[in-house]
Symmetry: D2
Subunit: 380 residues, 4 copies
Amino acid sequence: MVGYAFMGAAHSQAWRNAPRFFDLPMRPDMAAVAGRDAAAVQAAAVRLGWSSTETDWKALVSRDDIDLVDICTPGDTHAEIAITALEAGKHVLCEKPLANSVEEAEAMVRAAQAADGLAMVGFTYRRVPAIQLARTLVADGRIGTVRHVRAQYLQDWIADPQAPLSWRLDKQKAGSGALGDIGAHIVDLAQFVTGEAVTGVSAILETFVRERPVASEHSGLRGTAGAQTGPVTVDDAAIFLGRMSGGGLATFEATRFAWGRKNAIRLEINGSAGSLAFDFEDMNVLHFFDATQPAVEAGFRRIVVTEPEHPYIAAWWPAGHGLGYEHAFTHQAVDLVTAIAEHRQPVPSFADGLVVQRVLAAVEQSAADDSRWTPVQKES
Amino acid sequence: MVGYAFMGAAHSQAWRNAPRFFDLPMRPDMAAVAGRDAAAVQAAAVRLGWSSTETDWKALVSRDDIDLVDICTPGDTHAEIAITALEAGKHVLCEKPLANSVEEAEAMVRAAQAADGLAMVGFTYRRVPAIQLARTLVADGRIGTVRHVRAQYLQDWIADPQAPLSWRLDKQKAGSGALGDIGAHIVDLAQFVTGEAVTGVSAILETFVRERPVASEHSGLRGTAGAQTGPVTVDDAAIFLGRMSGGGLATFEATRFAWGRKNAIRLEINGSAGSLAFDFEDMNVLHFFDATQPAVEAGFRRIVVTEPEHPYIAAWWPAGHGLGYEHAFTHQAVDLVTAIAEHRQPVPSFADGLVVQRVLAAVEQSAADDSRWTPVQKES
Amino acid sequence: MVGYAFMGAAHSQAWRNAPRFFDLPMRPDMAAVAGRDAAAVQAAAVRLGWSSTETDWKALVSRDDIDLVDICTPGDTHAEIAITALEAGKHVLCEKPLANSVEEAEAMVRAAQAADGLAMVGFTYRRVPAIQLARTLVADGRIGTVRHVRAQYLQDWIADPQAPLSWRLDKQKAGSGALGDIGAHIVDLAQFVTGEAVTGVSAILETFVRERPVASEHSGLRGTAGAQTGPVTVDDAAIFLGRMSGGGLATFEATRFAWGRKNAIRLEINGSAGSLAFDFEDMNVLHFFDATQPAVEAGFRRIVVTEPEHPYIAAWWPAGHGLGYEHAFTHQAVDLVTAIAEHRQPVPSFADGLVVQRVLAAVEQSAADDSRWTPVQKES
Amino acid sequence: MVGYAFMGAAHSQAWRNAPRFFDLPMRPDMAAVAGRDAAAVQAAAVRLGWSSTETDWKALVSRDDIDLVDICTPGDTHAEIAITALEAGKHVLCEKPLANSVEEAEAMVRAAQAADGLAMVGFTYRRVPAIQLARTLVADGRIGTVRHVRAQYLQDWIADPQAPLSWRLDKQKAGSGALGDIGAHIVDLAQFVTGEAVTGVSAILETFVRERPVASEHSGLRGTAGAQTGPVTVDDAAIFLGRMSGGGLATFEATRFAWGRKNAIRLEINGSAGSLAFDFEDMNVLHFFDATQPAVEAGFRRIVVTEPEHPYIAAWWPAGHGLGYEHAFTHQAVDLVTAIAEHRQPVPSFADGLVVQRVLAAVEQSAADDSRWTPVQKES
């Protein structure tokens, strides 16, 4: 694993948990974690359960005892690490967004296509059981033709103008702000659940607070504000309209300025035969409206997605004993290990990540061009 | 009153109820109702409580015993009736949208400005107590500077492609579809609650079902489908981005294709100091997040807006004995009668209605121009 | 109508509304209202829409132009008025609880049985559309055999110890406190929706605040506190266990001390094949769990009970345009007028009211006897 | 650890997780797990992460390298194992209910008092962050004097009469049914959050389905039904009234027959100054009504208990990234290890467990005695 901050902790938990709850065809061995600060990476290794450390990711990537490289660093480093790892014959799991530009993402896809190893991008929310169930219901035709997608990712962690700068607010490192960090998730979820692509967008990006205190330390998403200030170089919020490949309309909204909404990933889909609604604030629940039922007893069904019949659940606890945020990472580890064992392409692939990247690029282009309708570049 | 269908029934209920629950400075006398079909209008008068009938609205408007003309007809007739009534010295209450075009709306505003009578447009949802409370909280600075407006009006009454044609699906009569019928409401609500204007938009309009059965009779919103079909000439759904005059971002979505959402008017506003959320499916409730509270005990407060301290409530029932859809019409009647008695301009005025009309026009223009950013025309 | 306070206002609204929205076989004529204070009853008549007044209910009851007597007075007067009215050949609608004692209630039932007129007791919440739908689903076997009834009626209007005395806190007038005022409703609802009887109870009654300020005026449920204090002679809260005649268990809780719960009538029923849940705070909604559905997609369905297919709704507004508290009174008026026109016994009958009264009596007896199991007296 | 079924898996996860997320004063070493079936316990050890196995718990308890014995077996074995372990100088964590009888529980308390080791009982739900916050708010006087406790634990896992027998339905092993298994939790939660004791009860126990298929295998809570049947010797549901030591009233309901409710632990508390509400179906949320706020803006606050300021949360994920069922077990491990390191008595102690046991005993006594009021035995 490269990187060991918030995402690194989540991934480590997944690697530790997966074999405890699931019957895996291969047992993950947490061989090494890489980070630039020797003392810090050593402490992280102990805490997170890695057997050894490297201070240079290149050393890690070239080790013979490494089969899979798990990339948990900021987006500006994804392409180089992933491509090097793939060229070294490793399997790769790369956090989202796949890269900070379409060009980098394309290079990563080419590297993945040329490589012996398998490559996967970490759109983890796909593996929340309620989202998996949503996908199944759509694929089974239970909501018919998709008419509307309504996707929001609402947070409030920098709604306070005194919240300090972090790498996530620095365009060089993060590529973009709310758009790439959280907007990428709802684009991927909209596409995954509908099984369709976003074909074009009309967008606005906005930075409400353009100057912020410099964080005196890097601990945590929030950090601690110091006396100095520096510029915010990414968007605070992204809103955009879109069209789905099946003819439906979509609205997207990603913001870090929605006071009171902590991690509200909301997805609502209306089809010709029914509707689905999900909110990560109630992550073990999926709401399903079946329009084929008689009007007198039709209603959104609040499905508590914790039955053994539901995706991934049989491995965990009895019904009603809900899962939390981190469990989707465990499911991701399980699915990746299984795909590797079966020599299958895991999903979402780097190509899937590129598709999202192209939507983000179209959003940026539209936002820079008077919100004009901007088609999403197709795979060449 | 001119017209006596769904809206006419709601307005009649309001005129009957207002003096029963509120101390009015003047007592409304339900003098006459007009409609083209003599027998039908006579039956409506008996049922709805009007003392006499006219088969020509011009006759009604010219009667000396009429002080106030209440217009409940389709939008294509609003301008002519309202202007004639104002020129005849009557007060006017006109259903929304104010007109089917900006030009008509401008003419109505000019007529209102020139007239002795007072003119009001029926954006009734403003008078839901929870919405009034929302406006008060924003005006009192409780959520700070508005960052985000998230407005949706979701219905499903023609999600079924076999739902028949009605005048609401005919561009000649209705002017537009979901946009003018329900989109107008959320534009007005967004502007009313924030106290700001929508300054520009980027939009998509869509008609999912372009041919529908002809209704064999005109009873009810749903009607009954016949064998013949005819074209749908209005939009089924409208989605648009906007900017508020205070710098915030807005998303709007109006659709009649959201299965399971019956009359879901949702308004969520995030400011620099807090947030508000409302859903008409739970119309007696307002959710308020106060970001000035300590994080450990902050949360969206579910305010049940049925206390005697709340707007309009003291006239009705004890706390918790909720109001329904029709009560907002009674509040509208109360406020209009009071304004007339006090020789004050009632709100929303025709000018307020024109502002909404200009937003709708900008939406249509943007939708026809590749979703390009389209400023809303300012008052000249 | 006798009495014209809170209940009188609600009943008057119903008599006015019923013929406006429903096709009634007979048209109610609001002939006269009775009250002891001549000026006050005259003002009430004007406000509420009654054609004449009486200062002695006996005069009203003996008038030839009166066919139906609607009793909206405190419980201590119900028996005398109702019996006199029935003996005078009138139809009677009597507010709940039927009486302040089983003996009175029995006398009322005997009078009703002997009379030509028809008698009905005002358990109005039965006529909330969602409750009617609940009854239909149970009667149709959709939840199977009833295992559990969970009934709560939670208010907070005297949670503040400074809330003043009112007749509702006076045993002489009210008979009991939370038990008879609101507990009676949930007993009736539990029996009505299940179609079963409560066969025995184990109970606790409690008065948390035994001395309160004397109200300086009688306006409103809350009144206004004065300097003097007086004793509270009724229960503030009643909690009891029960058994249903079909073998299920029941819990009941009625309190006026649940801060934040304004009029939360909650009914949850678990059967062998499904469950139902209702909360009056969201009165247009019924939740239904159908256990015959596959586990993977089973969930409580949130049925918005505003479709034309739902009880009473076709007469009102389009789907999603919810009803309020008062509408159930209109439904009650409609059903009573219809029963009278068809010479049928309206429900709930006085006998149904007596059944509830006997449950309340058993509750009081058990509470006075160490909560010991106390069978509900059967009809003799 | 003794036992390795559902509870054993949850405890193992906790022991593994605690040092990964929390800074512990001592590092747990998962030395050995005991079970009767050598092959099965060996497989469990590998899967759950234990270094060695024993087929006799007595061997485990006497090992020198064991400092803490974690008891995850059915209730009939708790007393013997715990007492033996304490006498052997070990610390003990014992799953709830503490024992199958008051006598056993008393012996365990005596053993704990006499021992050098520390003893704790596993009422894990106390350590859900929202419950901790509830306790803090009550202790800080934020809801004033407790008037009402409304506690429910609703499940549906044997609502189907074909659900097979398991040890949980066998009085010999489980002691009681819903009462001890889930009722014990809500009694403990009610006492913990209020800081008060249940002083007496009036109760009903019921077994709806008295004969069930014999499970053909023991995997999972549900098992798989075979052809034979056997008797259910415990209660399916327990409902009881109670009084709190501060004068408030309480209602309790524990059932496995509430279709659609999977693990709905609901706790609602009304005090003289406010209210609290919790439902485990939405476990990261606490609802708080503060009656000291102005009526116009008062409402239940939906506190999403995932802020770093909230109990336990800083060790986990950013705000809004909710926890799941298993996390409370990790918190339990953290608190126990910390108490041991600091030579402090951990809570809940065996004495706390005995208090719950006495409430359960009073419930059984009252249920057997016509629901008569039965005081809970005080500590002697």
